[in-house]
């Protein structure tokens, strides 16, 4: 069987809370990253806070599947991706972020997203996978479309930043759509 944690540019790993906390505490001093990825006010949490957060998340076994993203070329930790199943409806929310700016817009995130979709559909056996993004995050929109997501709607003016109201975009991919894509690329 193939290695489902290995893509073309990256692989998914699970790392110790210390490693993740250290990376996050550094990444989260980049307000642009936070404003792209989050809706809460950008804020720089301490390494200790992040470690406790990771431990809490990892303690909720079947609710959160969190992975680190490492490059295949030099094994560098560049970001994180996670999937949160809603088991009753076989649906899940995914979130992804590349803390290392040098890797933005170069296909690393898309590759990691493809891996998490594969994990969701062939390992967690989900029916569909969902995500949300800020409408001003055009790079993310392109990446998600490339990975197979379709826009399912827009929540109007759900974010207030720099004195402006902006929209939230919601996307989804169904198991059948993903399977069809695999047939096309195989």
């Amino acid at each position: 069987m193939k290695d489902i944690f290995r893509g073309e540019l990256v692989r998914l790993t699970v790392e110790s809370p210390e490693t993740i906390a250290k990376a996050q505490a550094r990444w989260f001093r980049d307000s642009e990253l936070l404003r792209l990825a989050e809706s809460d006010p950008a804020y720089m949490w301490s390494e200790k806070n992040r470690k406790e957060w990771v431990e809490k998340q990892d303690g909720q076994d079947a609710k959160n599947f969190r992975f680190c993203i490492r490059t295949l070329s030099d094994d560098k930790l560049i970001g994180e991706v996670s999937i949160h199943p809603q088991w009753v409806d076989a649906d899940a929310w995914v979130g992804i972020g590349l803390g290392e700016r040098d890797y933005w817009g170069r296909g690393y995130g898309t590759d990691a997203m493809r891996l998490i979709l594969q994990y969701g559909f062939v390992e967690l056996n989900l029916h569909r996978i969902s995500l949300g993004l800020h409408s001003y995050n055009e790079r993310a929109l392109k990446s998600y479309e490339k990975a197979g997501f379709k826009v399912e709607g827009v929540m109007r003016q759900d974010t207030f930043r720099e004195g402006r109201r902006t929209d939230g975009i919601y996307m989804g991919i169904l198991r059948d759509e993903w399977l069809t894509m695999q047939g096309e690329t195989a």
Partner: protein
């Protein structure tokens, strides 16, 4: 002119009230045994609760309100005798962005289809926009809940997101819909009705 005389919690036949930890658990326990109500009110699997379990739930709701400060939970009362007939809430309030999620339900079958839901919605929106000052409110509803969709449309909500096949019930998939109403839309609507 600033009008603080208008009672926020009083409707024509209904009013909003606090939880009564003594009287309400028995009533709500009965509702949780009504599968039809529960499947329309909740997305999670229906699970009847004993009065003791309901009591615990009330305590945890009030704890959440106290600690997280992003939830307002109301009981709905019949004005004639103050009896409990349902619940209404604004939850997951995102204060930074001015967004909140609303939900309401009339528990007893004999109180449904009497227009009480509309009266509650009017109070709930007034509270959300004029008291908590939200910029928008959101409601999530599966496509099989036609009564809820009808009520939301009647109050000017727009269908914003249709998550395809987002719910699994009775052996088939259903879309789940997200409806949104902006404060400006609510203000226009209220003005036009005055």
């Amino acid at each position: 002119m600033l009008n603080i005389q208008t009672q926020l919690f009083e409707g024509q036949d209904v009013r909003l009230g606090p939880i009564d930890h003594e009287a309400h658990p028995d009533i709500e326990s009965k509702w949780t045994h009504d599968a039809e109500f529960m499947r329309l009110m909740e997305r999670k699997p229906v699970r009847p609760l004993s009065p003791a379990q309901v009591k615990k739930e009330y305590e945890s709701i009030e704890k959440r309100m106290d600690e997280e400060r992003n939830l307002f939970y109301f009981t709905i009362r019949a004005r004639e005798d103050d009896r409990l007939i349902g619940k209404a809430l604004v939850q997951w309030i995102d204060w930074t962005n001015g967004n909140g999620w609303i939900q309401l339900g009339i528990g007893a079958a004999e109180d449904r289809r009497r227009g009480l839901g509309s009266q509650v919605m009017r109070l709930l929106l007034h509270f959300a926009f004029a008291e908590t000052n939200l910029h928008r409110v959101t409601a999530m509803v599966p496509e099989y809940n036609e009564a809820a969709i009808h009520l939301l449309r009647k109050f000017g909500f727009t269908e914003e997101v249709r998550r395809r096949e987002g719910a699994d019930r009775d052996g088939r998939r259903w879309d789940t819909l997200t409806f949104g109403l902006l404060r400006s839309e609510w203000v226009e609507r209220v003005k036009s009705q005055e």
